[in-house]
């Protein structure tokens, strides 16, 4: 189909700035302006509507991490809402004339200033300073942040076991009838290989065929836990299961696996907020699957992983970066490293600097005052 093929044809033109609320494929926060051709973005109209009404924490991170005051953001954001179809007017007319529905995304063609892309316009006055020390420092930091072999083994072990138990549940549910599992997928930093030391948490998304009632989730958690205990009797004491509003967490002494529950697309419409998990959360879990798939396909470059780790560290240490979701960081890192004129991966020092430059240049709120 056109979309897929176009993605294949232009794999290197992934970034643009959207002002659409429906471009927020985030776990956690709901506004993003970074926009990639994310694999299938098909959502029911209701889901879209739901999203656009969601609260949108505004992001603005300058080079110095100053933050704009909240009230002002709010004001600005509300005023900036619902701006008509002007974006559509500038689109080139395709054959047959594309008809733009009221739901269409606003496309803002202007990218914010990006030094890397404009390099040729700014020839260096003097030779670039030597940044090997900086690079070394970044690499060292990355090494410090990477999980140890023991941690990796522990989390791998737990994930494997849980995956086994879940797979068994899919194949043979036996007497377990609280829910039916459609699919189990690993997502998040564990899957992407961007885990951080001291945060030994892996994410697994479980797609249910049935509707995700709280009881079902809890029952599933119990069942998995019981099965794990049968599988591994010596871990009886250390294994814990904690249900939460996203699913449940299973942890042993060394590692934690967050099991995120969601349901198949068709069921999303049938949800009842009283009985089931929050629809937004479920959608975010589905999005997480798309994200990890995108990552697998596009961002497996190891520099990207290093950069993501560094950015996540940054995010953890600076308050101003907190609104950045993991998915945003993924996109940012991918962009910073791969989107440059030479099409070669940028070295880590330039990429790291570029990330900050991009944020400072207003990559995030680029769209805010675009149109009336």
């Amino acid at each position: 189909m056109p979309r897929r093929s176009s993605r294949r044809c232009f794999p290197q033109a992934p970034w643009s700035v959207y002002s659409s609320s429906s471009s927020c494929d985030l776990v956690g926060h709901s506004t993003i302006i970074l926009r990639f051709p994310v694999p299938h973005e098909s959502q029911s109209p209701q889901a879209r509507a739901g999203r656009s009404q969601g609260q949108r924490p505004q992001l603005w991170i300058s080079l110095h991490c100053t933050k704009i005051n909240r009230k002002q953001q709010e004001m600005v954001m509300t005023r900036g809402r619902g701006r008509g179809m002007r974006g559509g007017m500038m689109r080139p007319m395709g054959p047959g004339g594309p008809h733009f529905g009221p739901k269409m995304k606003q496309f803002v063609p202007r990218l914010p200033f990006d030094m890397v892309l404009c390099e040729s316009a700014f020839p260096r006055v003097k030779a670039a300073p030597d940044e090997s020390a900086f690079t070394q420092a970044l690499l060292k930091r990355n090494a410090d942040l990477s999980p140890t072999a023991a941690e990796q083994a522990a989390v791998l072990n737990l994930v494997t076991k849980i995956q086994t138990v879940m797979d068994n549940l899919i194949v043979d549910p036996g007497t377990f009838d609280a829910c039916q599992i459609e699919e189990v997928r690993q997502v998040g930093s564990y899957k992407k290989g961007t885990m951080m030391t001291g945060h030994n948490v892996a994410d697994i998304v479980v797609i249910l065929k049935t509707l995700p009632t709280k009881e079902a989730v809890e029952a599933l958690g119990k069942k998995v836990c019981d099965d794990l205990r049968i599988l591994e009797p010596q871990e009886v004491l250390v294994l814990t299961m904690l249900p939460n509003d996203r699913g449940f967490e299973i942890s042993n002494s060394e590692a934690t696996v967050r099991v995120l529950v969601t349901t198949i697309h068709q069921n999303l419409r049938k949800l009842d907020p009283e009985l089931h998990l929050d629809q937004k959360i479920l959608q975010s879990h589905l999005a997480a699957i798309r994200h990890s798939r995108w990552f697998e396909e596009n961002a497996h470059h190891s520099t990207i992983k290093v950069l993501i780790r560094l950015l996540r560290d940054l995010r953890g240490r600076f308050e101003g970066f907190e609104p950045l979701s993991p998915w945003m960081l993924d996109l940012l890192a991918h962009y910073a490293i791969l989107n440059n004129p030479s099409r070669q991966a940028l070295p880590i020092n330039s990429a790291f600097r570029r990330c900050l430059q991009l944020l400072a240049a207003g990559t995030l709120p680029a769209w805010v005052s675009r149109n009336q």
């Binding site: 300058s62 063609p109 004129p341 005052s369």
Partner: protein, 916 residues
Amino acid sequence: MYWSGLSAAANAAAAYQTGQTGYPVGHTPTGTYTTQRAAGSTYDTGYQTAAAAAATHSTAAGTYPSAAASATYDYGYGRTTQTAAAAAAAAYDSSKTYYAQPSSATAYTGADTHYHNKAAYTSASAYTTTSRQTTPVVTPKTSYTGTYPGAAAAAATATYNTSPYAVQTTTANKTALPVYMQQTSQPPAAAVAAVKTAGNTWQTFKKPQVPGKTPKPKAPPKPQQLHYCDVCKISCAGPQTYREHLEGQKHKKKEAAAKAGPTPSRHGASLRCELCDVTCTGADAYAAHIRGAKHQKVVKLHQKLGKPIPSTDPVVVGGTTKTSTTTAGATEGAKTTTSGTTAALTSLLMTTDVKKEDLKDDLLDLKEKDVEPVGQVYIEEIKNEEGKVISFNCKLCECRFNDPNAKEMHMKGRRHRLQYKKKVNPELVVEVKPSLRQRKLQEEKLRRQQLREEMWRRREEERLLEEEERWYWEERRRYEEECEYLDWCRRYPRGPPGPPPMMPPGMPRPPFMPGMPPMMPMRRPDSSDDRHVLAKHAEIYPKEEELGAIQKIVSNTEKALKMVSDYLAEVDAPKEQQIKPKTKKEEESKGEDEKKDGEKKEDGPPRMLKGVMRVGILAKGLLLRGDTSVQLVVLCGDKPTRTLLDRVADNLPKQLAVVAPEDKYDIQRVVEEAALVVQNIGEQRICVNVTLTSPIMREQLLHDGDSQVTAVKDPPDVLDKQKCLDALAALRHAKWFQARANGLQSCVMVIRILRDLCQRLPTWGPLNSWAMELMCEKVIASAGQHLSPGDALRRVFEALASGLLLPGSPGLLDPCEKDPIDAASPLSAQEREDITASAQHALRLIAFRQIHKVLGMDPIPPPKFQRGGRFTRKRRRDNSTGEGNDSEGELDGGDGKKDKKEDGEDSKMDTDKESK
């Protein structure tokens, strides 16, 4: 009757083929048989009941004393014949699974003997009509089995094709046999098993049949020792009570009901306990009944009486749509036999036909009823203090029950399943309510839903298609855009360009998208930013009179300078020999210069003053409102000296008086600046700085080798070298500007705005105008597309915000110098940092639609939704610049800048600290 039977048999002729001729002729009584069979061309129901009746030792006979007996007889007869035939068939056709079992064959052979018994029994019963029928049948029986194996087999196979097993195949999800047994209900599982396994067991099993065979009297039954009422299935304590019971309403009702056949249940299908004559709506209810005390009591009673206890397997009872239930069918069959009319027979034929269909439905219904309980998890057990479960609470349906049985029932119940489907598993199949009306409604609903879904799907598809198309175009355009841009970057590397004169006059601007002519800002008219920028620009752009005044004084000065040049040339010419050769040279060059004037064609020595040029804001068109100072550069033939300056200064007033006799001008010489300052004397003082310089000053620099030689020749009172060089640079800048910036859309406007900004905000003060112009041009040109004024301004702030000026950045390479020089080099690190922080804040303000604060102006309301209130307030500007302490002070224009600058510094320090 026989005739009718024959005709019926003729109807079924196809099935009888070979045997047909011999069959009815040889054995007239078989007419009955055939009739029966023909009637049972929908044989299954009949067969079921008949077989069941036979196997269960004809409880039916007990139940329906009068007519049923004959019915049983008929059916039994039919059945046994069938079975005999089946036995034969077993030998012939082993391919049929049913017959394939050898045990069944033996069972049926065993049944032969049973037939005899049965025949005996039926004949023993005192029915006139039926016994007359049966007796002849019995006799030929033995020979019959032997004689017509072929025909019987054919008949059997024919019948069995439509036999209950067809029903089974449709219903059975489980193992066929148990279901069958359960649903056909009468043959107890054990009995059938026995039948299947061996004839002996059959034989033994037959034993309890004997007491059951005691002929049931017609109602009212004869009082027995125990005073047992057969209709109501109760025993009475004594004859008195028994009689009373018989006279009682309850009994009468039951009797009537029994005669009319069982009342069709409200429900589609139901299960019946034959023993207690109780109809249950479902398997569970039935099970509950069987477990219940009442049933147990009746069983006990029957045991005491020695009455046969029918199996606990329920009888399937048809629903409202049926003309009769299976048992009723038996009654009817009996009736028809008794009445002996063809019409009745045919009607039976029809009813049984109907019955078959309905039974299938029933079985289906019941099958569905026998569902797995769901949602066990959602039923929580409520325990008392001792931990004993006292009640259950279903969270899905929000109901409670105390009985575990009730819980089971609930979990299978429709309501619960519906809730479960709605709340837990949308895929669960919940049977539609069997009521006709409801079913219709349901169907209607389904159909509507389907339509709706289809519509949704179609709409979705359309939407997807649309989206895909849009995606495609969007992506393609983005890709093209990027390609074009990169192409452009590659094609026009903006390396250190040569000096301005060498620059091609119309430097190609980045190419535009083929489909996007430069009318892009037209397509997207003005954003709010654009409108603000335009308004601000209009505000800062000088007024006509200002421009006129400046124009006047500049042109007057130029003219005067020209005349000074002439005068100097004239004066110098005669002295040619006396003065230094330098002056000669000057005059020569001057002469060249003045050739175009055509005034003096003398080929004398070069002129001292070769020409005058506009530079700076005047040349670049960057004049702002309130600008009172413009610059001119006089190019001299040789290095300008103080003497020359004095001579020019002396002569200029005279010439000015000639040029503009009505205006008065004040002329000062500023030797240290290598300049003269011409000021008009009037209400609006405009000063024109006239700097003397000479290209030779720079040539000297450029050719290092010659420098020493020329330096030696320097006159002692040569003017300040740096100033002269600056003036030369200003000349180049002006040329560069005209070549590069003037053609760039929005660029001049943005530079004007920034000039204003630099003048307004102390933070930006240190940023020299040349660096600013250079930066703006580079930043705007590097966008690779036309930018509206608002976008262009924003892009400049973006560039600054991303650290363009910060140490470590590439810097602003000055295209007008030979050596790589950073145009912004005068800025200190602190100034760079301040400007960056300020730009970040400004960018933030722009991003959040507060551009008016950046520009230091009133917000402009959107054109279409003008709100009078905001439009009129003029004071606001004063306020916004004045109040720095209120809550929004941070966001206010001028003061905000300073506040924010500090913020920026603070946070920077913070980050520095933290990152250490």
